[in-house]
Every structure is written in C-alpha cells, then in structure tokens.
C-alpha cells in the first residue's frame, strides 16, 4: 500500500510512502530533516565533494507530494538546512524552485539543531508550532503527548531490509528524514527504544508503506 492511516491525539493522519505526513482535515503536509546544502557544507569544511545534486532530488520529491496533496500549510520539522549558510549557497535555480513551491501557501520552518536561527527565505520561523491537538517540534520532548517530531532519522526493517520509517505510539509520532543525503538511526537504538512506548509501531517507507511492531 502507498499510504497508512492512523490517529494521534484524535487527529486523523496519513503516512505517505515518500516519508511525508499528510493531515488531510487540516490541509497540512509535514516533512522533516530536509538537510538542504549538505554537500556544500561538507566541501566548505575541506571534506569530500559529494555529488551536488541532493537539493534538486529532495525538491523533486517534495514538489511531487505538494502537487498530489495541494496542502494549505507546509511544516518543515527542522534541520531543513544543513547549516545557516546552506540557503545562501544554494544553486540559483534550486532557490527559485523552492520559492515557487512556497508561493501561495503557509510555510512553517521549525528550528532544528542544524538550522537554529532564521534563514533568509520567506515563511514563518518558529521553535514549535501548534495546530489543533498536535504540537510540531524538531526534537521529541519525552513528557509531551500529541507530538510530531523529527531529528532522529529512524530506520527499521527485518531480514536484512532496512527502510526509513515513521515511529508511532499513543503519544507521539517521529518522522523519517525526507532529505536525500540522510542516513538513519535504527529503531532498536537505546534512545528510540526509551522514547517510544511498548505498543509502538514502525511504518516503513519506500516503494510501499508497511507497518510492523517497532523493532527494539
């Protein structure tokens, strides 16, 4: 299946196979950890010069989700930019592309650890965002409920197959990383096992969405 419907704090949500979250009733599309400008940051730090195409790859997928769902509001859950220079250094065409996607929509940039300050681009820059029963922030607060967060880039699977995944329990949802150059943190790592309740499930993304009990 291409989507998986579930509820969190009575909000009816849909996990998309792309790794985005769709909240149909509120017209909100939420993506996390885009990490725009990752290759540029590595090169600047005298690191390796990775193929400089991750921005357009990420934009391509984001555009596809936006065109399909036509959201009123888009929430980027933090670490949207790999650092605060990333937007400046973005290719002119990619910057224009992003601006076009933003036009005519409410666009919320949540601060992440990679992009703690405002970036010189439109939209609203917030530490967290509340909508109905839900709160959106970058890093999960262990005491929160009805919370949607990102940051960890969770991954799970079985029998040698590992996919980026949503983690969901009765109180919170953690989104997979949406950006192209992002790795993953296995769901059975201590910090995720502690954060997620006993009944947590992992919703694998990729070609299909596939729920399974969260490996821990």
């Amino acid at each position: 299946m291409r989507t998986y419907d579930f509820t969190l704090a009575d909000a009816r949500l849909t996990a998309l196979s792309s790794g985005a979250l769709w909240w149909s009733e509120a017209g909100i599309l939420c993506v996390s950890d885009l990490h725009f400008g990752k290759s540029g940051r590595l090169a600047r730090r005298a690191g390796n010069m990775l193929p400089p195409y991750e921005n357009r790859e990420t934009l391509e997928r984001l555009e596809a989700d936006i065109l399909t769902r036509n959201p009123e509001t888009i929430i980027c859950l933090g670490d949207s930019f790999d650092d605060l220079y990333a937007f400046e250094e973005m290719d002119e065409a990619d910057r224009l592309w992003l601006t076009c996607l933003m036009a005519g929509r409410q666009w919320v940039w949540i601060e992440g650890n990679h992009d703690p300050g405002p970036v010189d681009i439109g939209g609203t820059h917030l530490a967290q965002f509340r909508a109905g029963p839900l709160v959106f922030r970058h890093i999960a607060d262990p005491d929160a409920s009805g919370e949607v967060s990102g940051h960890f880039h969770p991954k799970a699977g079985l029998r040698g197959i590992r996919r980026p995944c949503f983690l969901l329990d009765g109180r919170r949802l953690i989104l997979p990383a949406y950006g192209t150059y992002t790795g993953g943190l296995r769901s059975d790592t201590g910090v995720l096992s502690e954060l997620m309740g006993k009944d947590a499930i992992a919703i694998l993304t990729g070609n299909n969405v596939q729920p399974m009990p969260m490996p821990r």
Partner: protein, 801 residues
C-alpha cells in the same frame, strides 16, 4: 663464490651453503635498474633479494635509507626482519633494519622519518603514507634499492597498481634507485617484468630452477562425490587418514563459510584427537595469531584455511597440501601446492578433493595443467583510475605539484605506461572540483591551481582526511561477534554487516568452528550465546565465489572430448558416457543447449563453460529476452560450466536468445540497478577519495549523519550519468563480478554454432544443476511480498491490528 666478500664467504662456508645459481645471477645484475626473480617457495628468494644490499652496506659508509622492502603482508615484514637480523648479527654488519606497518607505534614511526634505518621493511600502504609527507624527498634521497616481495600477488590487485605509482614517485626522489621483484611461478613472466619496469626501460627476468614436479593426486574415497554441493564432507574419513599419515597438512578451502563447515565436520569425525586448527579472514586477529603460533611451535597437525594462508610465513614442516573443492584456477593451485615442502628440490605433495561429480573432471584437468606447467591468468588491463585519483591526492598532501610532471611520472609506472593525457586530466579534475557537470564547488575546490601553474590543496587540513583514507583495500564492513556478557573478552570473530543484518534473535550460525545463537546487535557488536548441541540453522556468511579460469575451462572442455575416460574414477566416467549416450558432449567450438521438461516446467541448459560470474550475467540477460519472447521465465541457476533456466513455455529456438546484437544494451539496463554495481561503486568511490572509508572506532552504527554510498550512486546516475566514477564503476564491474568479457569470449568461441537437443527428461550433465534450484535466494517483487507478509504476521501476533 668468488664474488662474495670475506664475512659473507665465511658465513656461507660455516653453514656449508653455496650460492644458488639465481642468487649469483642477482648479484651479477645488482646494478640493473630493474630485475624480476621468479622462484618457487623455499628457493632462498629473500636472501637472494637482500644479499646485494648487505654487500653494499657492509662497509658502513652509507648514510640513511638504502633499501626498501615492500611486502603485501604486515606479518611478512616483521618475519623477514627477524630472519635478516640473524645473518647481520652473525657477520657483525653495521646495518640497522626496521619494519614499519600500520602496527608500528606512533613514536617509532616519527623517529623513522627523522632518522631512517638502512633497511626498512614495509607494506604498499605504509609506503604511500610515507610519500604523502612533506619530508618524503629527504627521507628517500639516498635510497638505492627497493625489493618488492610476492609481486605476483600484489600485481593481481589495485595494491600493486598503487605500489607501482609509488615506485615511480620514489624514482623521481632517488633517480639511481634500482628495483627487484620477487615472484612465485606466474604464467607470464615478461608481462610481470613490464609491470615492474621503469617506463620503457628493460627489466630482466631471472628464473630459478622450478624444482622437481609436484606429486599431485586426486584423493581416493570410499564414497563417490555427490552430484552437487561444495562441502566435500563425503571425503572426511580419507582426509583425516591423510592428515594422520603426514607430518603437517594445510587444508585449503575456497570460502570462509565452507572452511567453517568443513572444520566442524572434521572435528565431529576426529576420534584420534588430531590437533587441527582453523584460519580464515573472518576470525579475530587473536584467534588467527593463536593458530599461527601453535603452527610455528609444531603443535598442530593440520590447519583448515582459506586464501589467508596463500602467502606468508614459510612453514618448513608442511609436507602435504589438501585442496578441498576444485581449485578454479591452476596458478593458485600451483602456488598453494608450493606451500608444502619448502625444502628446495623436494617434490611438493598435494591431494585434490573434488566436492562434486563435475569437479572430478575439473580437478583432473587442473592436475594435468599443473604437471604440464601451464598456468592461467587473466591478461592485465591498464592501471585503474581510482588508484590514480588517490595518487594525485597523495601527491598534493606532500606539496604543490606540476600536472605535466606528475603525468610524466605516472606514465613511468608499468600499469600506467599508456595512460592517455585526457584520462589523467579527468582524474585531476575529479580531485580538484569533483568533476561534476554542475560546477557547484568553484569556491570550495579541493585542489586549486596557483598563480605559478602548480596544484595544491586549498585547505591544508584536507591532508589529514586524505591520509586516513589511503590504500586500495576496501573491506566489506564487518561487525565483531562476542559472547553475551563478556564485553571484555576477545571476540570470536567477525561477520559481514550485511549478514548480521539478516539475523533475527534465535538464529544459529557457525563462527570459529562453533555454533552460536544470535541474541542482539549492540554498538557494532553481534552478541551471541554458545549453542554447542544445536545444528547451525544458517551456515553461511558470504564468501567470495571464484569463477573457473578460462584456461581451466578450456582444459575441462578438452577432457570431455576424450573417447573414453580411463583416467577418471568409474563413477564419473560412467556419468559422462551416459551423457554422451542420452544427449551429447559439450564441444569447445559449439554451444550445446538442452531442453527438457520436469515437474511441468520447461528447462533449458546452456553449457557455456564461461565461469559462474559470466553465466550468472548470461542468466539475467536471457531471462530478459525470454520475458520479451513470451516464454515466461521463472528463474535460473548457474555453475562454472552451465546455466539452467526454467519457465512456463518451452524454448524451441535458442539462437535468437543468444544473438550478440543488443546484448550489451540489455546489460546496461540491468547493470545500473544491480547490487553488484553499487558494491563496485562503493569501492571505486572510496579509493578515489569521494567517500571516506569507515575506520574501526570512527564508525558509529547509530549515527544518523552517515548515509549509504548507494544514495550517492543513485543520485549520480540520475543527475550526472557521465561522471568519471560511474564510468570507472562500470568498467570494473564488467570485468569483475559481471564478467561480460567471458560471455564475449564464449560467443566468439562458438561463433553462432548452436546444437539444440530436446531430451525426453533431465540429462546427466544437467542433473546437478537441477539440484541447485532450491538454493536460489529470492529477490525483487517476491522479496517485497515476503516482507509484507512477515510484517503483517508480526502485527497480528503483537495484537496491533
């Protein structure tokens, strides 16, 4: 002996030794710029190599580094140092000898740079690292000689290509440098000499007496070998008997997994309590050291081992080599056999143990080739460009360089003698800017061209990362295996990360000869418990699969043409006669294709004799074509000699399936998506310096920051399909795992002549392939479905739906 000075003459005399002819020959050629010595093991090769250095250093006048010795194994460098120190001490020569490898303490390495010894023993990687330092010109200024040991082994991998580039660099720093290569028996001594030569200058080959013919036999067993399989467990009683009758035996097996299984089976049957050890690359360093020490102390009667013992320390006591499974390659067989009886002029004794019925023929063919001294080997292609990229970066670490001068220098290295300038420039461009169609890094180039035209690192801090990434060995990522709750203890060994990822708690597998149960993965460690009473459920972690060499395949084909087979055991000769009766024998200049029906499936068997990698590739290509032709293919298996496909419709005319036209295009589509390509890409990208290798201790399995090189591969393919690294990846895969070259060899050999036989039922030669069918892993769509089914079952069990 007249050429030897006094202390040497006396030293030889007290031992009752005389110079071997090849040792004299090397002394006579000591001033030649390049020489290659080909000698069997135990021929006093090392002494022959060092003798000219010892003579030149005997007067104590040389200051600084005189001789550099490079070997593929760290252990060999240390071992040779110990062996050299004896004569030097006994003759009281004023010579300082030291080794330098990755294991050498930092303080000593610092000191060695400031005050180099006369003779330095090292590895290609340590040499490359030394050359990356700014003070390399000073360290190597007085260098006179370089000795490359086991050059036949180095020349088979990128380590050799890198070493030759490093020697070209050294030649620039010390123009009078003379080089000597030491090699085991090889198929093409002149080719190896050109590899070692300085540019177009000659390199003389000195051939030592190859010694007497080895005594090779096929092991007689009470039980005939099975129809398929690679374990050879049927031969356990006779192998134990042979071990008992010999002093010390090396038992070679082609893969680690098979070595584990065979070792365990030997232990189960080992009533006489013969001390037998196990040695392979997945065992922990400690475990391997223990076995090596016990072996040196003469405490072991046999070692079950893989290629890890192909090279290295001479164990004079080994008097028998047993090869389990077909050797696949005659040269390797001959070199392995040479491990037995290191005393010069004593014949080596070896037993071959075919693992299945077909391997009886292959073993016999290999044995005959070894006796005829016909060796195989794939012709060496031009030096790979990922290694060249690394060389450019290493050069930049040592200081600014001129591109023209570096190009000229690289062309002095044998493997790069024909390097086109355009290829060099592409590599330089890649190192400087990443070489992307999108010029994204103009401000942040890795290398910058300065006003004087020379190239230098933009940010000198980059040197550290480049040095950390140096070398051409790209290991599969492995995880340590430890007993649970014994975090302090030595690990049992390691398994490939990909294998570890397939384990679920409760799975049992073999490591270090014992059965363990997987418990969990914790911080890069696979935690297990011992499970001695259970059978291993999963026995394999992937070992490399060698393909039978072209020459050996041809010899096997020739063997099948015999009128009868009195030289083969009756069980095998009967089998071949039956094949000839029911169907036909495969022929070298034609392709035999058989079709038959079994279990409502239509099977077709192609006897390509092109090695398993090429036949695997052919299987993928034919599946695509059968799909298009509406034959509804369901699957295929391949061995070294044949490919068996099956489907819902019969193949009535195999010729169009095998048409050369469009085959390479079909390959391209398939290749791009394939895991083989991603694996090759990872290796190429690591060596070329696009991605950093995962160093032990630096890798954190939990870090979300690191991502797989597969993502880079997919991204490049989508946005920059002409990129240098994709071109290099493709070239590498085509000759390596994909082995398209051998499909072409086969198509040229058969020249369109196809004999299609429709048999009433499975034929004798095809029967073993039929037995392989159950072992094919499931991939693609079927894998997705299985994943979904298992996940749904787990959801139900957990009460979550």
């Amino acid at each position: 002996m007249s050429t030897l000075a006094a202390p040497f003459k006396d030293w030889f005399a007290t031992r009752g030794w005389a110079l071997h002819p090849h040792q004299s020959a090397l002394l006579a050629r000591a001033q030649d710029p390049a020489t290659l010595l080909i000698a069997p093991t135990g021929g006093g090769k090392t002494l022959a190599g060092f003798l000219p250095s010892l003579l030149e250093l005997a007067d104590g006048n040389h200051k600084g580094l005189h001789t550099l010795y490079v070997s593929p194994l760290k252990a060999l460098a240390a071992d040779i140092r110990r062996n050299l120190e004896n004569p030097v001490a006994e003759m009281a020569l004023p010579i300082r000898i030291e080794d330098r490898t990755g294991d050498t303490p930092h303080s000593r390495r610092q000191r060695q740079r400031a005050d180099p010894p006369h003779i330095l023993l090292t590895t290609p990687e340590s040499l490359a690292l030394l050359l990356s330092y700014e003070d390399a010109p000073r360290i190597f200024a007085g260098l006179q000689r370089v000795i490359v040991d086991e050059i036949h082994a180095l020349a088979e991998s990128k380590r050799g290509d890198q070493l030759m580039l490093c020697l070209a660099r050294l030649q620039g720093l010390a123009p009078g440098l003379r080089r000597l290569g030491l090699s085991a028996t090889v198929e093409d001594p002149d080719g190896l000499a050109r590899y070692l030569a300085i540019g177009e200058a000659p390199c003389h080959v000195v051939q030592a007496d190859p010694g007497p013919d080895p005594d090779i036999r096929i092991l007689d067993t009470e039980t005939p070998p099975p129809w398929n399989g690679a374990g050879a467990h049927y031969a356990i009683p006779e192998v134990l008997e042979a071990v008992r009758a010999a002093r010390t035996t090396l038992i070679f097996i082609n893969t680690r997994a098979q070595a584990e299984l065979f070792f365990r089976a030997l232990w189960m049957a080992n009533d006489g309590d013969l001390p037998i050890g196990l040695h392979h690359g997945s065992l922990s360093r400690e475990a391997r050291d223990r076995v090596e020490t016990a072996m040196l102390a003469g405490k072991l009667r046999a070692i079950v081992c893989t290629g890890t013992l192909d090279l290295g320390i001479d164990w004079g006591d080994v008097d028998l080599v047993i090869q389990i499974g077909a050797p696949k390659n005659i040269k390797r067989l001959v070199q392995r056999i040479g491990r037995a009886n290191h005393r010069y002029n004593a014949p080596s004794r070896a037993l071959l143990v075919p693992a299945n019925r077909f391997e009886v023929v292959e073993c016999r063919a290999a044995l005959e080739a070894a006796l005829a001294r016909e060796l195989d080997g794939e012709p060496r292609g031009p030096g790979p460009q990922d290694v060249l990229c690394q060389q450019i970066l290493i050069t930049a670490c040592a200081g600014a360089f001129d591109a023209d001068a570096l190009f000229a220098e690289c062309r002095k290295a044998g493997p790069y003698r024909a390097l086109p300038r355009a290829d060099f420039d592409a590599c330089l461009q890649f190192c400087a800017t990443g070489g992307y169609a999108l010029r994204a890094y103009d401000r942040w180039q890795r290398l910058l061209q300065r006003a004087d035209g020379t190239w230098a690192l933009r940010d000198p801090r980059a040197a550290r990362a480049i040095r950390m990434n140096l070398g051409t060995i790209v290991d599969t990522e492995t995880l340590a295996v430890r007993l649970k709750n014994r975090r302090g203890g030595a690990p049992l060994g390691e398994v490939e990360e990909a294998f570890a990822a397939t384990l679920v708690p409760g799975d049992t597998f073999l490591i270090g000869g014992e059965v363990v149960t997987y418990d969990r993965l914790r911080e890069l460690t696979v935690e297990v418990t011992r499970e001695s009473h259970r059978k291993p459920k999963i026995a394999v972690f992937s070992g490399s699969k060698f393909a039978t060499s072209t020459i050996l395949s041809h010899r096997v084909l020739a063997k099948l043409q015999q009128a009868d087979w009195p030289d083969l055991p009756a069980h095998t000769a009967d089998w071949l006669r039956l094949q000839r009766e029911i169907s036909a024998m495969p022929r070298p200049d034609r392709l035999l294709v058989e079709s038959f029906e079994a279990d409502q499936r239509h099977f077709t068997c192609f006897y390509g004799f092109a090695g398993r990698n090429a036949l695997q590739t052919l299987g993928l290509l034919l599946s695509q074509r059968m799909e298009k032709a509406g034959l509804n293919p369901l699957g295929f298996v391949s061995t070294d000699y044949a490919l068996l496909t099956w489907g819902l419709e019969p193949v009535t005319d195999p010729a169009p399936l095998l048409a050369r036209d469009g085959m390479i295009e079909g390959l391209d589509t398939w290749l791009a998506e394939n895991a083989v390509m991603k694996k090759s890409f990872r290796s190429v990208a690591t060596i070329a310096g696009l991605i950093e290798r995962n160093l032990p201790g630096r890798r954190k399995s939990g870090r979300q920051a690191t991502f797989s090189s597969d993502i880079l591969y997919d991204t490049l393919r989508k946005y920059d399909p002409g990129h240098l690294l994709l071109r290099l990846t493709r070239t590498e895969a085509m000759t390596g795992l994909v082995d398209f070259e051998r499909i072409e060899e086969m198509l040229a050999r058969i020249d369109g002549k196809i004999d299609h036989i429709t048999a009433p039922h499975v034929t004798p030669l095809a029967a073993p392939l039929l037995l392989e069918i159950g072992k094919v892993p499931i991939r693609g769509e079927a894998q997705e479905r299985l994943l979904a089914e298992e996940a749904e079952r787990m959801m139900r069990e957990a009460g979550l739906v």
